[in-house]
């Protein structure tokens, strides 16, 4: 077979394969039954036409967003620093010591305070 013969043969095979696959796709499309999903899509998409926001709203919100002050990430704002943590622990420790002292005084008085003679 000459070179042109081979080229022509390959081109014809390619064309047939392409036509066959297009036919198959078309047949599949024709014979594929409409699924409930297809029907739902048609009905529901028709039921909910796209609703556009007013251009004034879009522009105003865009301006507000672009001009809003930079925010500190929430977790950084909320996370206590090591200094804050130390102060909080210190206050808690002092509170505990004070409570313990009050309890000790009450117990001491109850045990060792001079008892008044009964009238």
């Amino acid at each position: 077979m000459s070179q042109w013969g081979v080229v022509e043969f390959v081109s014809r095979v390619a064309e047939r394969m392409s036509t066959a696959s297009e036919d198959l796709a078309a047949q599949l499309a024709r014979h594929r039954p409409a699924t409930p999903d297809d029907l739902a899509t048609v009905s529901l998409e028709a039921l909910f036409p796209p609703v556009e926001p007013s251009p004034a709203f879009v522009e105003a919100l865009r301006r507000q967003l672009l001009e809003a002050p930079p925010m500190v990430p929430a977790e950084m704002a909320e996370a206590p620093t090591s200094t804050t943590r130390r102060v909080v622990y210190g206050i808690a420790a002092l509170g505990s010591l004070a409570s313990a002292a009050v309890i000790a005084v009450v117990v001491y008085r109850a045990r060792f305070a001079p008892q008044r003679p009964a009238a």
Binding site: V51, L61, M71
Partner: protein, 192 residues
């Protein structure tokens, strides 16, 4: 994420812009322009009111702006992340206002029809109203699912992220919702 779609308009995909938007307000502005209409549309159909839709749309974008540093590119498309914020805000709104039947009726009156005559037009209008009434009787999560799927045309994968469920659960819920909608409509027809 497998099958994640990158939204590319005017150059950079959403996910690249989202990283830049942590420090670059203009990048956030581009993301806003790309998504504001879809978020508004979603809010409108979830609240049934222009004023509430505007308020919740604004809150969605401000919350997104303040939380850009939390957005992780791996795994979640930006649109799904944004709609998850919108979903949480509208869920809180429903909880606070105690409203459940949210699908707006405003849009259905002016729909164009392909009907041939006045009788067909009236019949189609009646069918739409029945479908609408059936939709309003659905539980809130099913209404939400239908809006995300058929109004916002999000993928099952994105809806799964937004609603915090697996893709399989979303597919099953969609199937059950459409089936129950059909049953509800045939009951209405038989009854009327």
């Amino acid at each position: 994420m497998k099958g994640a779609r990158l939204r590319v308009v005017n150059g950079e995909p959403d996910e690249v812009l989202a990283i830049r938007a942590r420090t670059d307000r203009e990048a956030f502005g581009i993301l806003y322009e790309r998504h504001v209409r879809r978020v508004y549309n979603y809010m409108y159909y979830r609240t049934g009111s222009v004023a509430d839709a505007e308020d919740l749309t604004a809150r969605t974008f401000f919350q997104a702006l303040n939380n850009m540093h939390r957005y992780q590119v791996q795994g979640v498309p930006f649109s799904a992340w944004l709609f998850r914020i919108a979903h949480n805000l509208v869920a809180n709104w429903h909880r606070d206002t105690g409203r459940h039947h949210t699908i707006s009726t405003d849009g259905i009156v002016d729909l164009p029809t392909d009907a041939d005559g006045p009788h067909d037009t009236a019949e189609m209008e009646e069918e739409r109203r029945e479908l609408h009434a059936a939709l309003r009787r659905l539980p809130a999560d099913r209404q939400q699912l239908l809006i995300l799927k058929y109004v916002e045309q999000l993928s099952t994968e994105e809806i799964a992220v937004i609603m915090g469920r697996s893709e399989g659960a979303i597919k099953a819920l969609l199937h059950r919702t459409i089936k129950s909608l059909r049953e509800e409509l045939s009951r209405t027809k038989r009854g009327g």
